[in-house]
């Protein structure tokens, strides 16, 4: 692939979908006009290194795309860590992970209040702040690395073409329908969200104090969690693998849809096992002296089904949504063969 073609292909992935073709056509025309202008000044064709210089002067695809992106925010501590193109995905992942953390910890807090346990607000808040801080740092570092990678200048140059062929191919590429392609940033967002959620789950498993707070000295997870641990881990790893594959192959839409349905069905099966268990937390000690722990465990076990049913309803709706999407994309794929 020639540098110009490679540059425009990289840029195409970063532009807003509704203006992508138009912007690409215009920029490819501008780049080619500049190349032609230079060639007529020098009286010879430009080499690949000279073309690369022209492209480098224009900025990386990420920098160029940022000019066309409606600025919904950036993150900078001195130098810019996350630019306007990646920022909406960063905000979405952060919102998902932090929201999930707050939801879980908030539920635990509510159960403690309902069970009449003495709450040490300071301890509870430091637990919440610590977990949010860890999530914030993990998500920010990963996105900053992605931004850095995308900002590096690397345009492959595998085969040479004539100028006419190049222009033709760029324009064809630009007008090709791209509606049915998974955004790489969506896949990156899923990858990061799943990886951070996986780390979080692992840390909860190893240190239940992160989940139960001070009550970790009284109660712990019931054996059913041991049972669903491996399948849950498998599903999360599968989501990560799916995202990695779709980063490399954004046009594998059926694969994405099939995996999404499988993950949801797997999630429903796990929720079914959990609902059947009826006991989700147990006191660490069953001695009569530990009545506070038993009371706390019974309150949690009384309220937990509501949360599980809500999770099951959301997963069911998501499954139906993914099935409809799979059907539509299947039909679209068949009719466009």
């Amino acid at each position: 692939m020639q540098p110009v073609e490679s540059y425009l292909n990289n840029l195409a992935k970063l532009l807003p979908a509704d203006q992508r073709d138009d912007i690409l056509r215009e920029l490819s025309e501008d780049i080619n006009s500049e190349i032609e202008d230079k060639e007529s000044q020098l009286g010879r064709t430009l080499g690949e290194a000279e073309k690369l210089e022209i492209l480098k002067r224009r900025g990386t695809p990420l920098q160029v795309a940022a000019g066309y992106t409606q600025n919904k925010g950036t993150l900078a501590f001195g130098p810019q860590l996350i630019g306007p193109v990646l920022f909406p995905f960063y905000a979405r992942v952060l919102l998902f992970n932090v929201g999930l953390t707050l939801l879980v910890l908030g539920s635990v807090f509510a159960v403690f209040v309902l069970s009449g346990q003495a709450i040490h607000v300071k301890e509870f808040l430091s637990n919440v702040i610590f977990q949010i801080f860890i999530q914030l740092v993990a998500v920010t570092v990963i996105f900053a690395l992605v931004e850095r990678h995308l900002n590096s200048h690397s345009y492959s140059k595998k085969r040479a073409k004539t100028q006419d062929d190049l222009v033709k191919q760029i324009v064809e590429e630009a007008v090709k329908p791209r509606k049915h392609e998974i955004s790489r940033f969506d896949s990156i967002a899923v990858l990061i969200a799943s990886a951070v959620a996986l780390l979080w789950m692992q840390s909860l498993w190893v240190k239940p104090v992160l989940f139960f707070g001070p009550a970790a000295s009284l109660i712990t997870f019931a054996p059913v969690w041991q049972m669903i641990y491996s399948p849950t881990l498998f599903l999360m790893l599968m989501a990560i693998v799916r995202a990695c594959i779709n980063i490399a192959q954004p046009n594998w839409i059926r694969f994405r849809d099939c995996v999404a349905v499988f993950l949801n069905v797997g999630g429903l099966a796990i929720l079914y096992v959990l609902l059947q268990a009826r006991i989700w937390v147990v006191p660490i000690s069953s001695s009569a002296a530990n009545s506070g722990a038993q009371h706390l465990a019974s309150v949690i076990n009384q309220w937990a089904p509501f949360g599980l049913w809500i999770a099951a309803a959301i997963t069911l709706v998501q499954t139906v949504h993914d099935l409809v999407r799979l059907y539509k994309n299947w039909r679209w794929g068949s009719s466009n063969k």
Binding site: E34, D37, R58, Q63, Y68
Partner: protein, 114 residues
Amino acid sequence: MTPSQDNHNLFENLKLELRRGSLVLAVLSCLRSEQYGYTLRKALSDRGMEIEEGTLYPLLRRLETQGLLLSEWREADKRNKRFYRLSPLGAEVLEKLLAEWSSIDAALKEIVKG
């Protein structure tokens, strides 16, 4: 960062701010006659107003969305190019902006003179 680098960055930022407003005026003025992106960029550059592609094309898009410019794809020199020109609203706005520019210019000259 050294103090001289700080000063340089400060100057560059202020220069950018100063240029930002005048770029719109320059682009609208140039597009009183129809041009496509590359020739517009060259025309601006030849008259001492360097502008990066990454700034020019998003600006053209914004001005078109605001109804100040009209554009159409047309073949020229055996290639399809997007030609821009001032819309009637753009011409009206340009007249007002030029009047404003003249008054700012006159005021600034007086102020700078002391």
